[in-house]
């Protein structure tokens, strides 16, 4: 069996407003509602809506022989709900066909997998619930933010109950091996790995409209020819890309929609390939070997590492200071704070602080609302400073509430004691007077232990 596995990433961050240092402690609203709404609606019109309707038509046209997978971040889902519910509706329609798989990821499109299991699994669960609620599926396959993966992360994901995970077919990890097979985790072989064929994926996602590319223009016939040229025993071609490839990164005028519309037909006509969802790939194919990834990889830049998010000192400072607050955030029990914490974790904020774009090109600057990474860092740190004040205040308030509650109990008990002693004194007029007097210190002691116990 030879098959193609299409997976599309859908994500939009909640962008921050310009937040100055004099706002710290005075203004606790961090978001740029105007750009969030206008960007989302623009992308909805240019990409999500037309692309969804195209995918729906293709699935219906080929009666389920064409099938795809999505991963939609929780943050993007929230924005659809707020600004473009019709997009959510069109995804539900796709889910309804039974030929679209929805993958699991971190709710906040975060890098929490690098910070241990607790916050990571919390976000994965939160996201799974959301997917279940909207699309009626319980995600079986996990894809981490920016396809970040390592042996340890894979092991955590297995423990969370996933059977397969997606990541990058990074050259420095694979060496001579081909990404076109099913692999497994090096620690726990129960976790199957689907590796992105970055050459063929990026031919569509990045190079499609590049007129200086020697293969321009890319036709479906040419693309299917390349699929056919892969060795016969290679079983799966994983085409993983941002969904915004359609209509946003590659404009409609480039013919990207026409390409996609024609692709399944050409595949069926000119090749033995079928289409599968990640779950089906994991189920139907045999694992050929384990992949050892001791250091985290991602699908970004030439290096396929984490340096786009955690490559310089600013990014590290922001990242460490944010996650240092984790415990307090949940201790506060304040929903608004927990929500802000999620929005602060969105990986895009760290991407904006990357100094790599000084050398590593347009992709970085294209998505960046800030003039410079320094700008992005200061804005983020100002917000984080305010957030920290809020978190501390909430935790402090919690302590205050406790103190109020406890002193109330003490007061009540004191009153009770006084009453009882009064009754005692009333019952035994003369000799008791002495005993009451002598007991007074021990009453105080009682009060002390009560306080301690509560």
């Amino acid at each position: 069996m030879r098959t193609i596995c299409f997976y599309f990433q859908v994500h939009q961050p909640f962008r921050f407003r310009r937040y100055r240092f004099f706002d710290i402690g005075n203004d606790h609203y961090y978001y740029d509602d105007y750009s969030n709404e206008s960007i989302l609606q623009k992308v909805a019109q240019k990409c999500y809506l037309p692309a969804n309707s195209l995918m729906l038509n293709l699935i219906r046209k080929y009666d389920g022989r064409f099938r795809i997978a999505f991963s939609i971040s929780g943050i993007a889902m929230e924005q659809f709900r707020l600004y473009a519910p019709e997009v959510l509706e069109s995804f539900r329609e796709l889910a309804g066909t039974g030929h679209v798989e929805f993958l699991s990821e971190t709710y906040a499109h975060s890098l929490s997998s690098l910070k241990g299991k607790e916050e990571f699994s919390r976000q994965v669960n939160q996201h799974s619930k959301l997917i279940k609620e909207y699309f009626g599926q319980e995600p079986q396959v996990f894809r981490n933010t920016e396809l970040v993966y390592s042996n340890e992360i894979g092991a955590m994901v297995t423990e969370m109950g996933f059977k397969a995970m997606l990541t990058e077919g990074a050259k420095h990890v694979l060496g001579w091996k081909s990404p076109n097979y099913l692999y497994c985790n090096a620690i726990n072989p129960a976790l199957k790995l689907l590796l992105k064929n970055f050459k063929l994926s990026d031919d569509i996602a990045f190079r499609f409209s590049n007129q200086s590319w020697s293969e321009y223009p890319l036709t479906t016939e040419k693309f299917v020819e390349w699929l056919n040229q892969t060795p016969d025993n290679e079983e799966v071609i994983n085409l993983f890309m941002d969904y915004e490839t359609f209509g946003e990164h590659q404009w409609k005028e480039t013919g990207i929609f026409d390409f996609m519309e024609a692709l399944p037909g050409t595949v069926f006509r000119n090749s033995p390939f079928t289409f599968s969802t990640p779950s089906e790939v994991a189920e139907n194919l045999q694992v050929v070997s384990a992949v050892d990834v001791p250091h985290p990889i991602s699908w970004a830049d030439e290096e396929r590492d984490l340096t786009a998010w955690l490559g310089n000192e600013m990014q590290h400072e922001a990242f460490e200071k944010l996650y240092a607050l984790t415990e307090k955030v949940y201790k506060s029990g304040d929903d608004a704070i927990i929500q802000d914490f999620a929005y602060l974790q969105v990986s895009d904020h760290f991407y904006y602080m990357s100094t790599k774009f000084f050398s590593d090109g347009e992709v970085h600057s294209y998505f960046n609302p800030y003039h410079t990474p320094y700008d992005a860092f200061i804005n983020y740190m100002n917000i984080l400073s305010d957030f920290e004040i809020q978190v501390n205040a909430a935790v402090q308030a919690d302590v205050d509430v406790d103190i109020v509650r406890l002193s109330k109990i003490i007061r009540e008990k004191d009153e009770q004691l006084a009453k009882l002693e009064k009754r005692l004194a009333d019952k035994r007029p003369d000799p008791a007077n002495k005993r009451v007097a002598s007991r007074k210190p021990s009453t105080k002691k009682n009060r002390g232990t009560k306080k301690g116990r509560s």
Binding site: E313, M314, Y374, F377, I378, M381, N382
Partner: protein, 424 residues
Amino acid sequence: MFGWEFPPHISGGLGTACYGLTRGMASISGLEILFVVPKAYGDEDQSRVRLLGAGDVSLDIRKVKEHQYLQDLSYIEIHSNLLPYTSPEEYEELVNKAEHQGERLVHTSMGGKLSFTGKYGKNLYEEIANYAVVAGEVALKYDFDIIHSHDWLTYPAGIAAKRASGKPLVIHVHATDFDRSGGKVNPTVFEIEKMGMHLADKIIAVSNLTRKTVIEKYGIDPDKVETVYNAVDPLPDHEKLKLKRGINDKVVTFLGRITLQKGPEYFVQAAHKVLQKMDNVRFVMAGSGELLEKMIHWTASLGISDRFHFTGFLKGDDVFRMFSISDVYVMPSVSEPFGISPLEAMQSNVPSIISYQSGVAEILKHAFKVDFWDVDALADAIYGILNYPSLARMFKKYGVQEVNDMKWENSGKKVYDIYREFVK
């Protein structure tokens, strides 16, 4: 080359730039530079340039000519008391004031064929004209291939030399009157600049910002104008210049002439904002200029005088001493053709904030950039650098690297390439 000042007797970036450029060109073989300034003092850097003092050079052209063959750079002195950045109006005031106090600003110990009398220098334009006359003389007596004039005060000299010799004229625009005046251009200065630019065979601008001004405001053919960025000399032995910091407070420094062009008021406003949020910080305004008193009054009325300090004009090593105790350097210039001082700050490991309205912003990556009028952004950047430690570390680490890659040799090479267009 005709230039109006040469270190250490400078009042701004012009002299520094001329000096750097000549040094950067000193290593080019087969190239000799004759540098003509209105007045030489004799204590200028003589490691690469042999300088001739006023007493030595009595405009005996023949004698100087011999020196030219001995030295890469000869240096003719024409006595002058002019400041290149003083407007003619201010200059008049200065001279009047000086006379009133019974001082003689002007010496006329000049020998030679020109009648530099006691009245000479009283009028700026007259001085420029006299300088041009000397330039014409120099052009006749010396053998050279290219005339290179730095800024408007020496354009007439360049033109005179070109007329006398027929050699190509390159003018080097370090600033225009649009930068200096904040838009209220002095018509006479504008005319001189315009004439120089039109008669020049080639124009060198110190940034694309300046190139644009030259093309748009003076109506010059874009093909004639080329950008050659300035650079910065390697830091002098800066360990020696370290000042012991007497206070625990952070120090934020403005260093430049306190004039409209440099945007000192934006610095005061930003300081006021920052001081409302943190108290372990002090602001220093180093420099002098027509807005100094206004700034002093203003900081007093804002109630921040106890945290805002004025040092007066700093030069030479004092600049680097100031940098050695600074945590942030700020250059909020309204219009800065280039701006060498942030480079000097960065060399001294001081994170810098510069305005987008400066030429140096075109080439610097590891400096924080704001629009000069955006006081909120400026204050925010100052606060950020003082409070989020990784930011200062990043600026220091990459800033020094970046600045060290800017070499006068590269600028000198570019200027030389421009010469080669005329001299095969």
